[in-house]
Amino acid sequence: MSDNHEVAERAAEAETKAPRSARAPVEYPVGSASEFPPGSHKIVQVGTQEVGVFNVNGDLHALINVCPHQYGPVCAGRVGGEMRCNASTDWKFHWSRDGEILICPWHGHEFDLVTGRCLALKEMRLRKCKVNVVDGEVRVSLGGG
């Protein structure tokens, strides 16, 4: 098991253990849906946490603003695509999934906004929060997964 995996686990533990097991999920309103148009992202305060809310092709994704690598403000990073190069691209560099990959501003770790997974290190992932829109209001849930 790699050191990074352990770091990721520690971070996940710190972020999730206490609130998740102790309480039922709590929903926090973070703004109206019109403030989160497709392709946008912003960081909102949710209780004691900073959460990045991303609109990827019309779907909202909320991620805790902590990079599991060295706890950097991952959601403040750029959003880009996935560079691929393998037999299926005939070993040519190929840019895909533009707008679906978050790049941590500290060390450049890339994360899939949809799954939270780190592209380089599959065991490492961002913690996602439940996000939904009720009556035009965006609500992020903390705790309870």
Partner: protein, 377 residues
């Protein structure tokens, strides 16, 4: 030194030595060389030479004085001598690599280098590989001429006793991950021949062999082999060689093993940061290393507590990635006994001493052991 005494530590296990050196003097190879370069080799054979330092053949640019009081300088000139000496060390099989031609990559004349590599291969196969003598050969690649190297690999693939491709590493420019060598690596993969990187301490303008500032061989030796392996490992990884040639097996020799974990962790870390530059690496660099790369022990590090070395090895896959090598007959050779001291399980020891190499190079189980096994039954 009786064979029996020396066998004690490795009794009952196969011992494959992944790095032994045959003496490849120019005059030995000359008869196998095409004209006009045969004339050059004959001339080189007629002039005095220094150990691993012949201008125009092994241009090591040795600018340091000989060690006061002298230094061991051994050569093995015949396969029979090699067989006897390996047996005295308790070695069943030896993988033959060149001696002077460890500096082969420094030769700048492409036609000459091409002819010389072809002559070396002819000579080595004709003179050194004999069924039953336990000596196996590596076809020498000519980095100066990738196209011809492909033909050589195809020519010798399937030749009895040819088990690998030797990649001259000292001063090779560009390093082995450069895409100009793709076809060589593809040919080796297709022929199911592992490639073996082997350096030697030389001074040249090519990275990382610009070691002219070191005053003595101690400094040069410390840097020479390890830097060559580190640079070539990074080179192979940064162009995705193990991903693009997933069946290629790559052996790193004569740099010990202590350098491996640090490079591995460093590559893993920067892979996370720069993945977009190396998207062909769809797994961690260490994942490829643990599947496709092998590390030969010699010159084995000798920490005060031998368990530190075993722990170091464990970081990169331990007994599953490590091959015994003696480097016989060179001054810094390792006796098989040196690994007997390490706190390894018997299974780990068997793998390192020979079982890994048996499967990597597709070698038969030595008769010495098959006979022994039959006796009790």
């Amino acid at each position: 030194m009786s064979v029996q005494t020396n066998r004690a530590a490795t009794d009952g296990m196969v011992v494959v030595d992944c790095d032994v050196h045959l003496n490849d003097l120019p005059q030995y190879i000359a008869p196998y060389c095409e004209m006009p370069w045969r004339k050059s080799l004959e001339l080189l054979g007629s002039i005095p030479q220094r150990y691993l330092d012949i201008p125009g053949y092994c241009p090591a640019l040795v600018a340091t004085p000989p060690l006061p009081g002298g230094h061991a300088s051994r050569s093995v000139d015949t396969p029979q001598a090699m067989r006897n000496e390996l047996s005295a060390l308790g070695v069943d099989y030896g993988i033959l690599l060149p001696d002077y031609l460890l500096g082969f990559a420094l030769l700048s004349n492409i036609e000459y280098a091409t002819a010389l590599s072809r002559a070396y291969n002819r000579w080595m196969v004709a003179e050194w590989l004999r069924e039953g003598n336990g000596l196996y050969g590596a076809v020498m690649a000519c980095p100066q001429n990738p196209e011809e190297t492909v033909r050589e690999i195809e020519r010798y693939a399937g030749t009895p006793g040819v088990v690998a491709v030797y990649l001259p590493t000292a001063g090779v420019d560009p390093l082995w991950g450069h895409r100009r060598y793709d076809r060589i690596l593809a040919a080796a993969e297709a022929a199911e021949l592992p490639v073996m990187l082997h350096s030697v301490t030389v001074t040249s303008p090519a990275f990382p062999t610009q070691i002219n500032q070191f005053e003595n061989h101690f400094g040069k030796q410390i840097i020479g082999h390890t830097f060559a392996m580190m640079a070539n490992l990074a080179s192979l990884m940064h162009t995705g060689v193990p991903a693009r040639y997933p069946k290629l097996q790559i052996v790193f020799t004569e740099a010990g093993v202590g350098w491996v974990p640090g490079m591995m962790w460093r590559m893993d870390r920067y892979h996370q940061e720069f993945r977009r530059q190396v998207p062909f690496l769809e797994e961690r660099p260490s994942d490829y290393m643990k599947r496709q790369m092998w590390f030969a022990t010699q010159p084995v590090e000798e920490p005060v507590n031998p368990k530190y070395l075993v722990e170091t090895m464990e970081h990169y896959g331990g007994a599953d990635r490590t091959l015994f090598a003696s480097d016989w007959p060179h001054h810094d050779f390792d006796h098989p006994r040196c690994l007997a001291r390490l706190p390894l399980t018997q299974e780990q020891r068997r793998k390192i001493m020979g079982e890994n190499a048996l499967s990597l190079f597709k070698l038969p189980i030595p008769e010495r052991l098959t006979k022994k096994e039959k006796q009790p039954a």
